[in-house]
């Protein structure tokens, strides 16, 4: 998030020397022997997975087409990196500009919870798997059920905002 208030905070600390971070830049310290063994074991499991996807070993009646598996790995990653992460970032930016300010945290929590619930509900909501011959698959009204749950979530968000505003007013007066 490119928030103004963060920037002021961080600009105030510019004179502090920063330790370089190795968090995402790969290992800069040698791996211990147990870590090397674990990495080797992990690669061993990966190799079994690769052989399975390539149908070199089989645990099932049907093999999987490796090209399509690879495509779905890439598609899943790109969907997250190009759509989900930017959308979340934009949403967070919006929350960071919300007024009253006391509403920001409850709204952020509400959005995180709601987004997760919508993600889980999406396949049922779209009803791709429905079967006219089998009403026990995807029974009930998915949209109504989700609306009920989201209503509860946002009622809690509103209650939290009101509580914070009232509390803030009582403190300042």
């Amino acid at each position: 998030m490119t928030s103004t208030s963060i920037s002021r905070q961080e600009s105030g600390s510019e004179d502090q020397p920063q330790e370089p971070d190795d968090g995402g830049a790969g290992p800069r310290e040698p791996l211990s022997w147990p870590a090397r063994a674990l990495a080797l074991g992990g690669w061993g499991v990966v190799v079994i997975g690769v052989l399975g996807v390539l149908a070199r070993i089989s645990h099932f009646a049907f093999s999987v087409p490796w090209r399509e598996v690879a495509e779905w790995f890439i598609f899943s990653t790109l969907f997250h990196d190009l759509i989900v992460a930017p959308v979340v970032t934009v949403a967070a930016l919006g929350v960071g500009r919300l007024r009253p300010r006391l509403a920001r945290a409850p709204v952020a929590v509400g959005l995180i919870v709601s987004g997760s619930l919508v993600a889980v509900s999406y396949p049922r909501l779209r009803g791709y798997g429905e079967s006219a011959a089998n009403p026990s698959i995807l029974p009930g009204n998915a949209a109504r059920d989700l609306a009920v749950v989201l209503a509860v979530v946002w009622a809690a968000v509103i209650a939290s905002v009101v509580y914070r505003l009232v509390k803030d007013r009582s403190v300042t007066t």
């Binding site: 998030m1 928030s3 961080e10 105030g12 992460a85 920001r104 889980v120 029974p139």
Partner: protein, 446 residues
């Protein structure tokens, strides 16, 4: 954001500048530990389900506890769904590191990044395919079971590699005596708390310069009250300190709340006592013919004509063949004339839902004894249904001799509905639903 800011938004060896103070290594470490736990639960329970369905010779799945598979698979599905917010949160926190430049600093680093790519792609596809499969949506065009299985091996292997590379740093992040999440310094996440940097620590608490360049140039209001709050609240928040947005503790709490909300609104498809809260689960254990769901209908299995009419049922025969003294052919009347037993057993679907029912029928062990099968016999139970992966199932020697393994004729006090396997279905303790073979026509003994 103005143009000078954009110029400073260039990738470094650490990735893009962290645009939110929530994107700390400690946050990544905390979420990573949670993911390590949930992925491990899903991996173990998933492998159990695989072994139960495709048992190698050394694997003998027991019949007790009756609800073990129900628990294991319910846990698999519930944990997988609860993982979604944690996984998305973790990826969001480390997102800037995706844009590291140069992409790798050496061979070991490159291997680590390849492994991380498998972990991310595999992890995302696992939770997506698992969730979609629950609603019987399979857009990937290949078998779910084998695709999910091989993806799990790729992703979990990559997770082990990731842990090997990150465990030491994760431990440091979480045990940091001042700011760590584990060490009782949760106060470090509290608004208004000003943690001191630890000498020698590579922690970059909210005052990190990682994002200072572009953020500084962001411009915006400079209220005096904000400035005072900045002094007071150095702990990062979603949009910036001092503006009452999420603290890091709040962010973790929100992710936990999201996982809990998913669990509470879906776990009722597995847990009978939580059924009333099952608003978002794709299946309802109480909905379906005779009070519980069906995955494969009689019509879908191509057996409706063979089991629907009285005339068809009069023609029904159960045959017992293979390693027996006397191969047999039994009518429905023959079966009903044998001692009948009642058992309360669940249908425990691999898709996580489960439903209790009271079954009545003949013990398989009695049929085997009548045909003269040897002690320790194993049995293949064959269905009338069209050839498919699930047109037969195996009973190991423990299952075949178990008192609770029935060829059921009735459920909940009525003859079986065609969709539940009329006239005869297999029902046994601690078995996945796909192995409770319906429309049974033959027992092959060996």
């Amino acid at each position: 954001m103005n143009l000078p800011a954009l110029k400073t938004l260039r990738p470094t060896a650490e990735g893009l500048p962290a645009s939110s103070p929530l994107r700390t290594d400690r946050m990544a470490a905390a979420l990573g530990v949670a993911l390590g736990v949930t992925f491990t639960i899903c991996f173990i329970t998933g492998m159990i389900s695989h072994l139960v369905q495709s048992p190698p010779s050394w694997f003998l799945w027991p019949t007790r506890p009756v609800n073990l598979y129900r628990f294991s698979q319910g846990l698999h599905v519930a944990t997988g769904m609860a993982t979604i917010p944690i996984l998305l949160a973790k990826l969001w926190v480390v997102y800037p590191k995706l844009f590291r430049f140069p992409p790798a600093t050496g061979v070991s680093d490159a291997l680590s990044r390849v492994s991380d790519g498998l972990l991310v792609g595999g992890g995302l596809f696992l939770v997506f395919s698992g969730t979609a499969n629950l609603a019987r949506w399979r857009p990937w065009g290949f078998g779910f079971t084998s695709g999910h299985y091989w993806t799990a091996l790729l992703a979990y292997g990559a997770l082990l590699v990731h842990i090997a590379y990150r465990a030491a740093k994760t431990r440091r992040e979480l045990r940091d005596p001042v700011n760590g999440l584990i060490s009782g310094a949760v106060g470090g996440l509290r608004p208004g708390h000003t943690p001191e940097p630890t000498p020698g620590s590579d922690d970059h608490e909210g005052s990190s310069g990682a994002g200072s360049g572009p953020e500084e140039a962001d411009g915006g209001p400079t209220d005096a009250d904000d400035a005072s709050e900045v002094e007071d609240e150095r702990v990062p928040v979603l949009a910036g300190p001092g503006d009452h947005s999420l603290t890091r503790r709040g962010f973790l709490g929100a992710v936990g709340l999201a996982s809990a909300a998913i669990t509470v609104t879906t776990v009722g498809q597995s847990l009978p006592w939580a059924r009333r809260l099952n608003l978002l689960g794709p299946r309802r254990p109480g909905v379906g013919a005779q009070g519980f769901p069906v995955n494969k209908t009689a019509s879908g299995a191509g057996v409706l004509e063979a089991v629907e009419s009285d005339a068809a049922l009069a023609d029904y025969r159960l045959t017992i063949v293979g390693a027996v003294d006397e191969e047999m052919e039994l009518t429905l009347d023959d079966l009903r004339a044998m001692p009948q037993f009642e058992e309360d057993l669940p249908i425990s679907c691999v898709e996580g839902w489960s439903a209790n029912a009271r079954w009545r029928g003949v013990r398989v062990k009695d049929l085997l004894a009548r045909a003269g099968a040897p002690d320790g016999a194993e049995v293949t139970v064959v269905s009338l249904q069209d050839p498919s992966l699930y047109a037969s199932s195996e009973l190991n020697r423990i299952q075949a001799s178990d008192n609770k393994t029935l060829l059921a004729l009735d459920v909940n006090g009525e003859p079986l509905h065609p969709d539940h396997g009329r006239p005869v279905r297999l029902i046994g303790a601690n078995r996945p639903g796909v192995q409770q073979t319906k429309w049974v026509t033959r027992l092959e003994v060996r």
